[in-house]
Symmetry: C2
Subunit: 404 residues, 2 copies
């Protein structure tokens, strides 16, 4: 498992392509990437009925592949720690449930021992499948990794946080776990499928306002929980203005009071939207010590390290050679739409059928497209952010990984 | 605005059909319905700059239509109060924002007075449209009605709660607001569109577990927050069993401790699922005093009165005479699927083109279908619950209501 060098383009030809560029807004690249083969050791159940896992067991492995992008903020420390740690957390979490994963249906008891004869029926009724254990392992791995980062940063006196976008290919499925504003999409000849959702102060407004409603002390009297179309000022006092609160998807009007003039909990629009005036994402790893400038107000209670996991059933797809998953940090998606990326992907792969390095060349090309250099068209604006891109061909994955 | 008699079939021929049946599981029908024309008084802005709404203003009305179903539990009191109250709350909420609703774009200030020249730009950037004010009014009306019910029940020494499903036709759109497990669907010749989501302990598991995680005292040490495939017992102690917590969509295994043997916060499957062993819904009105049997544990903190609002842009549909919205309490949907209802609707309306009462006959027929009598086919099981059905033809609505 490799944490990749920061500012170079790193390539594993044929299997997939990776491109990273440092926008030089900071000395170190705040984007980090990691990838590699995932080997999950399977242990046999103990023979004695109450025996726990054997610590020494036949060496049998379930293998998969792992790709991860981490977009750091407040320095690269959290992103580097995440790139060095998350895959270990995930392997540990998967190894803890692997016997359930390889069963036709996860057993109620991991030991396989049946306590109640209708246990399989209860598991069936809840619709629990092997893939739910992988989803649970990813969710738990993010939490575990976040705890490790918190401890490591505190111990070393460092600060910072990062987003995390992870793809895991396992048993014929691709799992995409996302916490932050990176994005993964599937690009096929006739299809674009979005494999992740972004978690920003805007997309998570209701959850964030709800927390501030339950725990008003988190705002220390410095912020207003309510959303208005813009920050209010003295002239608005006493007027009825558009607003919404935690329970509302719609809008209403309220008479402006003095407390409404405080700085908004969520402020700004689109890429400028900030949580507590500080952070552009609402999920990610790290940031345990982060406070609003010159205050004691902590960001962490509003930040979640919980990813959303999407499952792509690769085995159910009739794959073509040019079917790829594109994973990238927000630097790419800020300047290129899903449709623009898909267009670039399709035309590049069609034009470069014979090039054995075409997937890494494609990742490189996508990044160059964010820099105002157009290798493949005249689309797109210029990104001033770090940009990292993985291009994962599903076809060769399918051949290469082999599942269990 | 009429609260309808409880156990009779009530019909407003041509405009729409309503059927209600008392399953006689209780003396009074716990299902209640209300419907009628919604008249929203428009007031002119005051002439003097800081003048508030004129209390006497030119009588100008924005009209719409209102249909509502309330499925009571713990007695009919809350459902009756809701049927008598919610439309007044909604009218008041709509009247408070009507000037914003009729504007091309809702103004930042309800007075229309501009404080900042780029205010329209901010409103535009947030994407706030007239329909967002109706959604906000519905959300606020549910909250207001819930407060009224809480006060009235307490004052009269009564108890109970109810679900609420409301449809409002206004300015060429149909708004469907739902809190509970009733359902509304659009049935057209080639389309079934679900217009509401159900809110049950199962569909809201994560929200409910999250609240218990934040406020463990709400469970008073009597319940476990965790979900297991079945209730655990002594034999499971020390074993590793399937579970999930508030942050998980997937499943994992945990070693069973004594506290895991407590009664689960959410228990049972499907129609049998209960919140705190007590309630089958997680949203609705009332239940302010409801406690878990023989304990002091309150249900209300876990219950929300907030509806989810769906907007159907009726004006954008090329309507046919047989396009209808079917609203019904869970008694119908427990025994008939959306597809079965759509099949019954389509064949009945086709077979009864000339009948001027066909929409009310259809509502009656759907209800009879839940009673094991098949007027239209051999589909469906038998419902032992109260059942209420509205059939709303969109075509005649379109002609009949006329918007503003």
């Amino acid at each position: 498992m490799n944490a990749l060098p920061c500012t170079s383009l790193w390539v594993w030809p044929m299997l997939y392509g990776l491109g990273i560029i440092n926008a030089e807004k900071s000395e170190f690249n705040e984007d980090q990437a990691a990838c590699g083969k995932l080997c999950i050791r399977r242990c046999e159940f103990g023979i004695a009925e109450d025996q726990e896992w054997l610590t020494v067991c036949p060496e049998e492995f379930l293998t998969g592949h792992y790709w991860a992008l981490f977009d750091g903020h407040g320095g690269p420390a959290a992103a580097i720690l995440a790139a060095n740690t998350l895959h270990s957390c995930l392997r540990r979490q998967l190894e803890a449930v692997v016997e359930g994963m390889v069963a036709t249906q996860p057993p109620m008891h991991l030991s396989g021992r049946s306590v109640c004869s209708s246990d399989p029926h209860f598991v069936e009724e809840k619709g629990i499948r092997a893939e739910d254990l992988v989803i649970g392992a990813l969710e738990n791995a993010f939490q575990e990794c976040d705890d490790v980062i918190g401890r490591e940063l505190e111990a070393s006196g460092q600060v910072g946080g990062c987003t995390a976008l992870v793809a895991v290919s396992l048993q014929g499925k691709l799992y995409v776990a996302n916490a932050g504003d990176s994005r993964a999409i599937l690009v096929r000849r006739d299809e674009i499928r979005v494999l992740s959702s972004e978690f920003t102060p805007e997309t998570e407004r209701q959850r964030i306002q709800q927390l501030a409603f339950i725990y008003p002390e988190l705002l220390a009297g410095e912020f207003t929980r309510l959303e208005f179309p813009r920050r209010l000022k003295g002239d608005d006092l006493g007027q009825k203005v558009l607003f919404r609160d935690h329970h509302m998807n719609g809008w209403s009007y309220k008479q402006v009071e003095k407390s409404d003039l405080k700085y908004p909990l969520i402020h700004g629009q689109g890429r400028q939207a900030r949580l507590l005036g500080t952070l552009a994402v609402s999920r990610g790893l790290g940031d345990h010590q982060l406070r609003v400038l010159d205050t004691n107000i902590q960001l962490k209670p509003f930040l979640l390290s919980i990813p959303q996991v999407t499952v792509l059933d690769v085995d159910q797809l009739v794959l073509e050679e040019e079917d790829v998953v594109v994973m990238a940090t927000d630097g790419l998606w800020d300047v290129l739409s899903n449709e623009q990326v898909a267009r670039l992907v399709r035309s590049f792969l069609t034009d470069n059928r014979e090039d054995p390095h075409r997937f890494s060349e494609l990742a490189k090309m996508l990044i160059h497209n964010t820099q105002g250099k157009d290798d493949g068209g005249t689309e797109g604006q210029v990104s001033y952010d770090d940009v990292s891109v993985f291009v994962i061909p599903l076809h060769s994955q399918d051949q290469g990984s082999g599942g269990h």
